[in-house]
């Protein structure tokens, strides 16, 4: 009797917490899931304006513009299409032309991307997995030995 009652209590409490947690996780996941778009995907099928998305690619050489008012504008590419990105904050110290970056933000009506965050990696030889995959899909990725795959699309020779 005692054991049974104890079990019942534990199971009831456990089930209640699990259900609440699952509900929390599910609703939170729906709101917080951010889809990644490569430039080619945006060109084919752009996400609705105002939806929070992640984009990524290589920063095009010579595309970085730093307006006097602060922030930066630059273009990322996967070799097939480009995205122009506007960023109001200060760029990460590791941000460099030719490097793979990922940016979080929204597209406006004119397909300009306004980034809220720009992620560049601590390690300059690091390629974000999303970007590596986008480049592989665009056919401009050369798989090398582990950790040394590299971009092989247009302009590859100018990127170090």
């Amino acid at each position: 009797m005692r054991q049974a009652r104890k079990r019942l209590w534990m199971i009831a409490a456990g089930a209640a917490v699990l259900i609440v947690a699952a509900a929390l996780a599910f609703t939170a996941m729906r709101d917080a899931m951010v889809f990644f778009y490569s430039p080619a995907m945006v060109a084919e099928n752009p996400p609705p304006p105002g939806q929070r998305v992640r984009v990524g690619g290589l920063v095009v050489n010579g595309s970085v513009e730093r307006p006097a008012s602060g922030g930066a504008n630059f273009t990322v590419t996967d070799g097939r299409a480009d995205i122009r990105i506007t960023f109001a904050g200060s760029l990460p110290d590791l941000f460099r032309e030719g490097q793979g970056i990922v940016a979080d933000g929204v597209f406006d009506e004119d397909a300009r991307f306004t980034a809220q965050t720009v992620l560049a990696k601590h390690d300059e030889s690091y390629m974000p997995p999303e970007v590596a995959r986008a480049l592989r899909e665009s056919g401009y990725w050369q798989d090398g030995p582990p950790g040394t795959g590299q971009y092989a699309g247009p302009g590859a020779e100018t990127r170090r």
Partner: protein, 660 residues
């Protein structure tokens, strides 16, 4: 030559671990006191000495800047200050793996020397620890050799990543690894207990000090990492729900659950199976963490460079450890026995609720961390799961757990039904400061979760104060007093962390402004004046140092550094701290403003009460340390009480149980 000796030592340690596993296993079969058991312990000693010597050789290679070793060349530079030459030894993958292995071996030796009292159980645990070490030493010897030669040897070296050149980061990884790896000892004892068919209570008693020590160290390691992220990354955050942080947070959550459930199992025999399961899975999640950090599968701000081969190795080790542990558990969990029953208002029930919430939180964090990986493997459109998910799912669960926490200390074991006496009724007054804090947060326009966290933080602080007030006098023995103090300190630490986190979540937005020398800006009611920017070069970097005066009084000096060896720019944040919080300043590059004046981009933020986070973490670590000390002083209470219920030696909780 050093590299060859180092390589040899690693191989020797690997073989010693195999010997440790096999000999100790045989020794345990013979009752744990035979020659085989002693030989197993000796093998553990050899592994420790060999791995320690290898690590020392690596450090020496760093000090000598021996760039013929690939790992040294990749992580050091002739111009680097000595401290960072030394810390470079564990600043990259291979070296940190060597450190990890050495700590594994140390825990093996620790188990052999001061492990469980039962000789057979001890030998069996040493054997399991040997197995876990063997896996990692194999990885080190065959796939992550830190002594790999490079030819021709570079002259200068590539330099340790500049943002890792920080005193805090020099001690953060060792602390973290003692935590991660320390959980292996709990795993080994749990698995050994299942093989030996030890009873749940004895087993919980045997593994509790190890779990407590490991978890305390893990707490310190994570806290140091968060502190470092706060001032070094220059984004002003201390927790980003980044996959790498989550990788350490999951074992931490389960470790926290374990150190509590082990108390209930040891004292009352409650949920023995769950405690053993936690001990097994906490270490498995440590390995999962190593996988997430080192394989480069996830987009993370602190990822090591991509290396799928490493990932496969670590997944293999994860698989072997998990299969061994859980298969044993499935076969033998029945032998752990059942505890006495308890009522819903007993301390067991509260510890159970705490465990449920912590474990579910770990599950929720795991889903958010692994889901993007799963989606990637399935080839679906790639996604990322960011902080909004974790804030909305994990944070409320943790707030709820913290809300229940202060009450647990006042619940009697077993029958529960705490009948509040007049004295305890005074506790109602504690609701006054709690309400005050909640009102203050609302008045500052804090977000809902921050209000809740702030209230819970104040509630936890009041509860901890009352815990000491009520239980200190009742505890007759020194160990019992230590235990009460440890518990109250750790719980107060949680309160401070909740308060500090809530305050930081309610902070005003950051301000970016281009300032020319002489100009000012205002944040949180304080004026900041950029006085000058001048060159301040260091041994291996060039720097521009800004002087910013806060409110016309104190001076803060953020820097912008360029490390030529790594070709990398970093920002050194300037902090102006007082009791209200931190003024957080970083300075960007100079550029010509619209009006034609040369100006520096200054980023200013105000982090209210952020010191509470540091204090809270410190208190949790202190509390854990005191609890461990009390536990070691008290000996094994389960056995003491079985003999004589009211013996004075009867330890911390026997005294407490009578008192409450």
């Amino acid at each position: 030559m050093i590299a060859e000796i180092g390589r040899y030592l690693v191989a020797l340690a690997f073989l010693a671990c195999i010997a440790q596993t096999l000999l100790s296993w045989r020794g345990a079969d013979q009752g744990g006191r035979s020659g085989a058991a002693r030989a197993g312990a000796a093998a553990a000693e050899i592994a420790v000495i060999a791995a320690g010597a290898a690590f020392l050789l690596l450090v020496i290679s760093f000090i000598r800047s021996d760039f013929s070793i690939a790992y040294v060349a990749a992580n050091s530079h002739v111009d680097k200050p000595l401290l960072y030459k030394i810390s470079g030894a564990w600043g990259g993958h291979e070296g940190s793996m060597l450190l990890w292995c050495w700590i594994l071996a140390l825990f093996g030796l620790g188990l052999a020397r001061i492990g469980p009292k039962d000789a057979a159980l001890r030998a069996r645990a040493v054997s399991f620890q040997g197995l876990l070490s063997t896996l990692f030493f194999a990885f080190l010897a065959f796939a992550s050799n830190p002594f790999e030669r490079v030819f021709p040897a570079p002259i200068r070296g590539a330099d340790l990543n500049p943002i890792l050149q920080d005193p805090l980061l020099a001690i953060h990884p060792p602390m973290l690894y003692v935590g991660y790896v320390g959980l292996s000892a709990a795993f080994a004892i749990a698995a050994a207990g299942l093989v030996q068919r030890s009873g749940g209570r004895a087993l919980a008693g045997a593994l509790r000090p190890w779990a407590l020590g490991a978890w305390t160290s893990l707490t310190a390691g994570i806290a140091l990492g968060a502190w470092w992220a706060y001032y070094e990354l220059g984004w002003g955050g201390w927790w980003f729900w980044d996959p790498v942080e989550n990788a350490s947070f999951m074992p931490w959550l389960l470790g926290a659950a374990l150190v509590h459930s082990a108390i209930a199992t040891e004292k009352r025999g409650a949920f023995p199976g769950w405690t053993v399961f936690l001990a097994l899975i906490a270490y498995v999640l440590s390995i999962l963490g190593a996988f997430l950090v080192r394989s480069g599968v996830l987009t993370s701000v602190h990822a090591f460079a991509l290396d799928p081969e490493r990932g496969v190795w670590i997944l293999g080790m994860l698989g072997v450890s998990a299969v061994a542990g859980f298969a044993l558990f499935a076969l033998r969990a029945g032998s752990l026995g059942e505890g006495d029953g308890f009522e819903p208002t007993s301390r067991e029930a509260f510890i159970g609720a705490n465990n449920l919430l912590l474990a579910v939180t770990a599950g929720v964090v795991m889903v958010g961390t692994l889901y993007p990986l799963f989606v990637d493997i399935m080839g679906w459109p790639m996604i990322s799961v960011g902080p909004p998910y974790f804030d909305a799912s994990a944070t409320p669960l943790l707030i709820l757990a913290a809300a229940l926490m202060p009450m647990a200390a006042f619940m009697p074991w077993a029958n529960g039904g705490a009948k509040p006496g007049l004295k305890q009724m005074r506790a109602a007054f504690l609701l006054v400061p709690v309400a005050g804090v909640i009102i203050a947060f609302i008045a500052f326009g804090a977000p809902v979760l921050a209000v809740a966290a702030g209230g819970v933080g104040a509630w936890a602080l009041c509860g901890a104060a009352m815990d000491v007030g009520v239980h200190w006098k009742a505890a007759k023995v020194r160990a019992a007093r230590l235990a009460v103090t440890g518990r109250a300190l750790a719980h107060a630490g949680v309160g401070f962390i909740a308060l500090g986190g809530a305050a930081d979540a309610s902070r005003p937005p950051d301000i970016h402004r281009a300032l020319a020398p002489g100009e000012s800006m205002t944040i949180a009611g304080r004026s900041l004046t950029l006085e000058e920017v001048r060159r301040a070069d260091g041994p291996n970097f060039m720097a521009d140092r800004a002087t910013i005066r806060v409110d016309g009084r104190s001076v803060v000096r953020p820097e912008r550094r360029f490390y030529p060896a790594a070709n990398q720019t970093t920002r050194e944040v300037g902090l102006g701290s007082d009791l209200r919080g931190d003024i957080y300043l970083s300075v960007g590059e100079a550029r010509t403003r619209e009006d034609g004046v040369m100006a520096y981009e200054v980023r200013a933020a105000f982090h209210p009460l952020v010191w509470m986070l540091g204090l809270g973490a410190f208190l949790v670590v202190m509390g854990g340390g005191l609890a461990l000390t009390a536990r070691l002083m008290a000996g094994a209470p389960a056995r003491a009480r079985a003999g004589d219920g009211v013996k004075a030696a009867g330890t911390a909780d026997a005294a407490q149980a009578r008192a409450t």
